[in-house]
């Protein structure tokens, strides 16, 4: 009986996810597509949890369901015509063939996805990599294997990811035009933000702290902090909680900077540059994670605000005549 219930659950979960994905790709109304995408993110985080990956489920819930939804909505709002279809479109054979081909491709993908999901559920006992990770985990000072892999065994990879985020933030700041104002916030929004923003900050700090021994970590905490910044922007604080001028640049660089600092100190102390000494490993990882959290959150809020920030020492940028 229990197995039947689980199978029904899995079938409905996969069917709902795939239908939401198809709907969000094929609808012409862009705002509707974003709403489908938010629901799709919810379901995806459930799938991750079912596949026993709570860290990824946390990240998907925080980034996919909340933050990406807000970003996409802001992008759609800037779009002039939120309907993606020409008004009178005669029937065209090329369009019909292309549509059929893409739908068949989607069905094929759905079958492959279902097969992969079933395979991942009844996973083969091929856990050689897991055994190696758990064997070396005590030397890292953390007990969550995901944090150990991200910030100790593969720390170089994470540092380069943060560098990619920094490059993205620089790109957004270079070409983004200032976003139009939102509808004026009323009492409801003020009341909501008064308890929502502190709750988001506390949850983010909790996830950062718990990342050492339980599912959590820097990326999830940063996504929650960025959500707090987005809420601030939506309820009338134009800067979204970010400082301006030189401190903004300091915040954006602090993720990669923290990593580089720690690794260079290791190098000058005579070790290989990501080889933390065992007694300090836990604290070093927490330090790097804190700086990474602040920097990723700042990057995400900059991407949401999307305007040309002030110059390094205050004052407006010169008008960019080549924009638009």
């Amino acid at each position: 009986m229990e197995n039947i219930a689980w199978s029904a659950f899995d079938v409905l979960l996969i069917a709902a996810t795939l239908s939401l994905a198809w709907a969000s790709l094929t609808t012409e109304h862009l705002r509707r597509a974003v709403i489908f995408f938010i629901a799709f993110g919810l379901l995806l985080s459930l799938i991750w949890l079912r596949l026993k990956a709570p860290d990824v489920a946390l990240a998907e819930a925080a980034i996919g369901a909340g933050l990406t939804g807000a970003l996409l909505l802001a992008a759609v709002a800037d779009h002039q015509k939120p309907i993606n279809k020409k008004p009178d479109q005669k029937f065209s054979l090329a369009d019909f063939v292309a549509n059929t081909f893409l739908n068949l491709l989607f069905i094929a993908f759905a079958i492959v996805f279902g097969a992969a999901y079933t395979f991942a559920l009844n996973e083969v006992n091929d856990s050689r990599l897991t055994d190696i990770v758990f064997q070396h985990l005590p030397g890292t000072g953390v007990t969550n294997p995901v944090t150990g892999v991200l910030l100790d065994f593969r720390a170089y990879d994470t540092m380069l990811e943060l560098a990619v985020l920094l490059a993205a933030a620089l790109g957004v700041m270079a070409i983004g035009k200032t976003r139009r104002d939102f509808v004026k916030p009323g009492d409801m929004e003020r009341g909501l933000s008064q308890w929502l923003i502190p709750t988001l900050i506390i949850l983010s700090l909790y996830l950062l702290w718990a990342g050492a021994n339980a599912p959590g970590g820097a990326f999830q905490a940063a996504a929650l902090l960025a959500a707090a910044g987005v809420v601030m922007r939506l309820t009338g604080y134009v800067d979204g909680g970010l400082p301006q001028g030189i401190w903004l640049r300091v915040l954006l660089v602090s993720g990669v900077g923290g990593f580089l600092l720690v690794s260079l100190i290791m190098m000058f102390a005579g070790r290989i540059y990501f080889d933390y000494p065992e007694s300090w490993a836990g604290s070093l990882i927490l330090l790097i994670e804190s700086m990474a959290t602040i920097s990723i959150a700042a990057t995400l809020v900059v991407a949401y605000l999307c305007g040309q920030p002030d110059t390094w020492f205050g004052g407006q940028q010169k008008e960019n005549k080549h924009a638009d």
Binding site: G186, M188, E189, G191, L192, W195, L196, T199
Partner: protein, 97 residues
């Protein structure tokens, strides 16, 4: 005995959840559907959380379950107000010529 009480509570919760979902499908207007959403679903979640608290046995997990329910209530209430205000604005604009 505790298992029996928890079972009853979870059954109540499931009943309210199904009632809320059917209400959202069958009620005629956005404003009436909002009633089904906030009242029925949050009550269902409350009963479910109470049942799970009885089953969990650990005080910290019970506290977290309670916190989850309270957060959902607070955010549901605010979201329902915001959605209703947006619907109001849209209905007002339709009549604007």
């Amino acid at each position: 005995m505790i298992n029996l009480i928890a079972l009853c509570l979870i059954l109540f919760g499931l009943f309210f959840f199904i009632a809320g979902s059917i209400g959202i499908l069958r009620l005629p207007d956005i404003h009436s559907r909002l009633h089904a959403l906030t009242k029925a679903d949050n009550l269902g979640l409350g009963f479910l959380a109470l049942g799970l608290i009885l089953l969990s046995g650990d005080i910290f997990i019970a506290a977290k379950l309670l916190l989850a329910w309270l957060l959902v209530i607070a955010s549901s209430a605010a979201s329902a107000q915001l959605i209703a205000q947006r619907a109001r604005r849209r209905e007002r604009d339709v009549w604007k010529i």
